[in-house]
Amino acid sequence: MVFMVSTCLLFAQNNNKQDHSGHNHASHSKTEGDHSGHNHAKGDHSGHNHAKEDHSGHNHAKGDHSGHNHAKGDHSGHNHAKGGHSHDAHTNACGFVFDKSEFNPGAVAFHHISDQNIYSIGPWHFPLPCITYVKGKGLDFFSSGKFNADYHGNGTNAYNGFVLYEGTLRKIENPNFPTGLVDIGHHNVKALGKKNAKGKEIAVVHLCHDGKQLACENKSTLDFGLFGGGLTSFYDFSITKNVFSMLLICFLLGWLFFAIAKKYRNNPNKAPSGAQGFMETMFLFIQDEVCKPFLGHKWEKYTPFIMSLFFFILGLNLFGQVPFFGGSNVTGNLAVTAVLAIIAFFVVNFSGNGDYWKHIFWMPGIPAWVKTIVTPVEFLGIFIKPITLMLRLFGNITAGHMVIVIFVGLIFIFGKNGANVGAAWGTTIASTLLTLFMMAIELLVAFIQAFVFAILTASYIGAATEEHHAH
């Protein structure tokens, strides 16, 4: 832990000296709007503000988001007065500002918990296969190594009309952008604040190429615009970091349990030994504490499903906790928990017997007018149950990952991003202890959440298959 934190610290220090090393995640994901808010609050980061002012001018020239510039305009005079040096900020040909004086723990945390098209372990990036589908163009298959990502996972090449930003594929909207490999250099991709069709300001990734700003599309997401995503013209079916982690864990679990099953088959009359004994404890715990009490005499039928859920979630929860191994946040991704919840939903409702549906739509033993209240509530309950399953796992795991990143980030906040080495080292000690504590809790959470998901699914199935004799 101390090693990991101090390594980060050293990177940060180097970073501060070199203009282009580009360590600070925060600066990359920032929009101009972000800077504006910042300046308003502090107003004394002259270098920073100066750079922004340049940018402001640029936007004015374009004139495509005036509301935004107006907000910044308030500060321009002030910034001019300070004017001068810009040792921490870098502006490219399109006026994208890359500021290293700032550390944004939120942005860093979001970057670390996101799914990516590269697998990053420390400073090394391992390419992953990209499978994309673009409406009208069809499927494309290539390696994310083409993008030649920098430390942050920002590609220095464009490939077949795609760029890599924050480790994630983005499609250049302009259909005339040349296909194949195009060198775009360092620091030419950035999320900028733009107004969408509804007048809401959203972050849109832009590529600066040949002095022109080219908007990039995000991949399609299934949130239907609820969380700022939605369906676009481009779908990413790549083997991402999360998919890779899932495959890896499933293979490991499969191999482990096949070996154990073989041991039971070959030596049925021998006492369990080694991994068999260890896994048997967990297996029996779930079988005896979850399956048998909740599923009654049907426990045998559903045990493989509950076990699959439990070990799949547990394996991925624990895999995300392994330091130095990319910290993939699989069970903290809504897509993954949504799939698990939807499968649980189908299993519950396909198992549901007559009594289950009768209790939902025509609860026996209560007056008819009460039924008019109970029925909608019960009906909504069918959907609310899997939604809570989905959100609980997602929230717990994501929060755990973020808290750890933010605790480590405290070093950069108190150490002023490498400027105050003494404070950084002091915070390193405190942060190490906090992170250690948090990781211990996360280890517990990994087990608890897997257990909770399994036990609740079992209880829902149990309720759906229960036979009522009393009525």
Partner: protein, 172 residues
Amino acid sequence: MILLEALDFSPIKPDVGLFLWTSIIFLLFWFIVGKFAFGPIKDALKKRQTDIQDALDQAEKAKEEMANLQAENDKILAQAREERSAILREAKETKDGIIKEARDNAKTEANKILTSAKLEIDNQKKAAITEVKNMTGQMAVTIAEKVLRSDLSESAKQDALVGKLMDELNLN
């Protein structure tokens, strides 16, 4: 507000590709590992549990049987012991009986022998006496004959003869 919009909290936006892959991977995991590993492990554990329960039940039963057997053995042993002492007692009684009978027989026989011996002795005695009487008579006759033949002139000789005769007679 703007800050939050700008930050890309991507894990909450379910990616189509990740959604699809998760579905495929989890369903495969469930069908393959569930069917060929979790199922057999569950069955093996269930079988083992049944076996252990059976073994325990059998051990309990065997223990009970052993206890029963022990009790029976003890009973048989006690019976045997009793029988033995009965046999011994009987033997002793028989022995005593035989000894007593033998003793009685011996006594009777002894008495018989004694009686017959006495009788014999008496008979012998009587015979002896009779013989003595006869002999005495004979002797007396002989003596008398001798006396008669001998010289009875002298008185001393008479006396000696008479004395001699008397001595002989006094023997009886």
